[in-house]
Structures are given as C-alpha cells and as structure tokens.
Subunit: 317 residues, 2 copies
C-alpha cells in the first residue's frame, strides 16, 4: 500500500526515512550534512530523497520538518537562519514538481509536538503543549486534536514571550524572552557571568562553557551550576503557568537537550509552576513529562504530518 | 423553525433573549438583577428563561454566557466569584432537566470572542484573538474556526499571564499579571499612586478614582491621566506581541469599557506592539480593531454557541 517519506532538516544535517504506510516500524533514517560545497541545500535534499525513494511501491506523501519559520499552508520557507539561502523559498512546490506526490512542510518544533502526540508521550491526549529547550526554545501546541498554526503557520513560538522586560537579549532581537532566560546558551552565559563575578565553582573561569558542562558540574554538586539550572527551571515553570492559563492542556511535554538535565532542572520548574499557577484546577490530572521519541521526534512528526496529509490508517508497531 | 435562547449572566444582572433560528435580528433582551432576596441566582435564571419562552415554536437550544470559570464540556460552573453560591454548580444539567432542550455554557469572554467571530468584527477570519479590558482582563481565542478551550474549557485566560514578575497584585492572587497592569482598576490605582506622590493633575487627590475618571481627564489633556492610559496601552501592546507569537492571528479585537478610551490607549498599545513583535511577518495583514457588538457581545456569543450546538443555518439580518 505504499510508503511515506519523512524528512527532518536542520542547520547541520538533514535526515530522511522511508516508512511503509501500513506498518510504521522504528525509523531507519539516512543522514547527510545540510550544506555542501557543490550543491545548494535544496539540491542536497532532492538527492537525499531520491536515494531513499522506494522501488516496489508508490510514495503516498512526503512530510518535511524544517528548522525555521515557514508558512505551513503554502509550504514556503519564510526564514531559516541556519540554512544559507533559505528565505522566501517555495520548498513544497519545488518538491512536488520534482517528485509528483503531495508534500507538507512544518516547523520542526511544531512537528515534534505532532510526533509526540501521534506516536510518543502524548498518545491519547487531545490538548497538548510541547516545549523543546535546547540552543533555542521552540514549541508546538495541539488543541482539540489539531495543531495550533495560526493564519500563516507561525504560531506556537513558545520561547518568544517576554518573561522579564529589559532582561537579556534574545536570539530574535527582543529582550527578556523565555529563550533568553532558559535555553542552553542562556544557562551557560549566566554561569559564566557568575564565575566572572568570582563566585566559587568547579567550572573553569575564562573558557567557553556549554549547558552540558553546567549540567555535569551540577550533577557533581557544584552550587553555582545547580543555581544556573534552577534559574532556568524557574523561568520555565513561570512560563508554563502562563501556558496553562492560555491553553489549559492535559499534558505538557518537555524535550530538547537541556531537558536531559533531570531533577536539577525539573524540580525548580515544578516548584515555580505550582507557585505561579493561579488555580490548582489547572494542575488537576495534568501530565508533566519529558519527550519519548528522543532524537527521532522531528522525523516522527514529519511522518505524522505525511500521515495526516494522505491518511492510510497507519499504525505503529 | 424554532428559536434559540441566549443568556448572559454577570454578577450584577442577567439578560436573556429569544431569537428566531431562521432570522437572527437585533436582540431584544429582558434583564433582571442576578441576585435577589427571595431566590437563588439559578432560580432567578430559570424564571427569566421561563418569562421569555416562546409559545408558537419550539426552542432548538439555549446558550449561556457566565462571568466565571466553568468546565465548558460538562457545563459545570467551577467558580463564579461575583455570583454567590455558584461554585461546583452543574448548571447545564440543571437547565436541561427543567427545559428539556440542549444547553451549552461558556465563559463570557470566550463567548464574546465567538460572538465577534460569528456576528461582529471577526466575520470571515479563521484565527482570532479577543481581549476585553474592563474591571478584569479576559480573552477568547478562535483558531482554525474553533474556540480554544483546553481540556476543561479554562483556556484563553489572556489577562492572567505574567508581564512583570514582582509587579502589582492581581485579582487572582498572583503578581504582575496583565490584568494587574492594564485593567480599569489598575489604571485608576496607578493614577492614584502618582497623585499621592504629588504629581500635578486635574484629578482629585484623596478621593476614589475610576478608569473612566482617568480617561475623561486624559481627554482634557491631563498629562498624568494620559500617562496612566499610555502605561496600560504599553503593557497591552507587549502582551499582544506575545500573543501574536503564540497564536499568529489574522485579527485582534479589543473590547471592554477601557477600550473606549480611544487613541490615548491605542496609540501607545500599537507602538509597544511594533516594538515588541519579533518579526514584521506577524503584522502582515493583521487587523487590529475594537469590538463591534458593544454591550450585546456576550449575549451574541451565547447565541453563536446555541447555533453551534444545534445548527439551523441561521443568518443575521
């Protein structure tokens, strides 16, 4: 009965998998680097899809997750800061012209939410929030079993809300956004600032830090590193309280590299959530959990998008 | 072909109208006070509905807007601070048992959004945000032609998001919420504080102020009063920028008494919106407007809810 093709395109690498429509088994994805010397990213993408194109059965649909802003309805990339040349690019049309099958595009964090809802931690939930905490903070929202996309598919930018007016600069150019306070780089930056002030720590002064360095030091009991994670967790908890008031979900899923920091991040996050939620009714039966699909989450989301575009009653095995 | 009954219940008064399903004409509502000496609010409500019950044709459905928190799916009032005794009240069941027709309940601000979408400023839009700025700040959101309700119908509390951590106390008990910074009482409170500090103004020192007093003084050119409105407008604009990132709507509708303050509120709001939005893409083709349905907005929303519950292809005339 054919195949779906799922693609996940990041700034560094792109991955693609070909999945039987009738039997969605664990993904085996082929990966290549997004940028190369002799071809544009879109040429490399076409080559990648061609490489995994099945010979025995037709392809029902292609779902594509892109790290960037895009118009989810027209399939036009608006801006993908990490992929050179990908601004105002009608990628969906381009792929449909070449492969002659239906193609749908989605923002990677939006599709991660869709993936977790369809195949991961969110199965059975109808109202879901997914927040990925990594180099940036992205999000995806499912309400009433449908993605919240907005008029052009640019909704659910859950990292880009003001938490602290006049706070640190965000990657988007605004100040005090959640991303500027709780993302991996912001954890590292804060720890570095505290080190520079002379605060005691096992972290090295003067050399570049990552959130992973901070998490490792925190795991070893370093107070400054623990405070850096707790600060991020507290801001996440405050933002989550707002999102409960805005969306009243039954599940909140936290994904992304920083979410692997464990209780040193999550306990302060939960404490802040309880402190800032305006009524315990919002916490009744709320599931707060980490992502289940790991590194495949965006690819599984792209698959879920392809399934939604051309349903074939796929079931996971 | 029958009638819809629409009801709007506030802390002070309740209004009800009986509308022909086939011809939705301007509403003529009967109003009574919500609280009385010899009857509970729900007894008064039943009496009000009975009074307007039509004799010539059946009633297709009853839609009810309530100033309070409720579970929109079960029709149970969770808490209505301004209506004595209305906590954990299964109002939908109660009305269905008495009137034997389908009944649906909605939060008043949610239904105001629905009313504006179906009959007012939002006609033709699929992604809409409605914010009412009055004694409190409430909201309603339509995404993809459906109300954002969340798992229990407690979503879209757009006034209860933290804008200024450690800011002024909000009616909900949290600090620095939008409602605590931009609602009518918060405008009056800030003006009063500035007066107490000795700032020059034509506003009277030492006597209670309302937002309306401030708006009138601002209209007469009073600098302190203008600053109070501008402050509220700026916080609204900042919150709106967040909501554009979260919902990417095609229209934002501002309702409620404070929205009548005009340009002295709206110009600072627009300036802040432009300052805080992270990409001009969110403003492309965005309609920013005031509510069209005036005092009937919640009643029209209750009517829209009844229409959605039992569709009769009603059209407005």
């Amino acid at each position: 009965m054919g195949y779906y093709i799922a693609v996940d395109i990041g700034g560094t690498q792109m991955r693609a998998a070909c999945i039987p429509c009738e039997k969605i088994s664990p993904l085996i994805a082929k990966r290549i680097s997004t940028q190369g010397l002799n071809a544009t990213p879109e040429e490399r993408l076409v080559e990648l899809i061609t490489t995994i194109w099945p010979e025995d059965q037709p392809v029902a649909a292609i779902g594509v997750a892109v790290a960037g802003w895009l118009d989810a309805y027209t399939g036009v990339i608006i801006e993908a800061p990490n992929i050179p040349g990908w601004g105002k690019l009608p990628l969906r049309q381009h792929l449909e012209d070449i492969f002659h099958v239906p193609v749908a595009l989605g923002n990677d964090a939006n599709l991660a939410a869709l993936g977790e809802w369809r195949f991961g931690a969110g199965i059975g939930h109808h109202h879901l929030i997914y927040i990925t905490v990594s180099t940036g903070i992205g999000g995806g929202v499912i309400m009433d079993d449908r993605m919240v996309l907005g008029v052009r598919g640019m909704a659910a930018e859950l990292g880009h809300v003001t938490i602290l007016p006049d706070g640190p600069m965000c990657s988007c150019g605004q100040r005090g956004h959640l991303e500027a306070l709780a993302s991996g780089p912001s954890i590292a930056r804060w720890a570095q600032e505290e080190l520079t002030k002379g605060k005691p720590s096992i972290l090295p002064v003067g050399s570049p830090l990552t959130a992973k360095d901070v998490a490792i030091a925190a795991g070893q009991g370093d107070e400054l590193a623990k405070a850096a994670l707790a600060r991020s967790g507290s801001y996440l908890g405050l933002a989550l309280a707002n999102y409960l008031h805005i969306f009243n979900p039954s599940i909140v899923i936290i994904g992304g590299g920083v979410s692997k920091s464990g209780p040193l991040l999550f306990e302060p996050m939960k404490a802040a959530l309880h402190q800032y939620v305006m009524s315990p009714e919002y916490l009744d039966n709320l599931t707060l959990t980490t992502a289940a699909l790991g590194d495949d989450v965006c690819l599984m989301g792209a698959l879920a998008l392809a399934c939604a575009l051309v349903p074939q009653h796929a079931s996971i095995t």
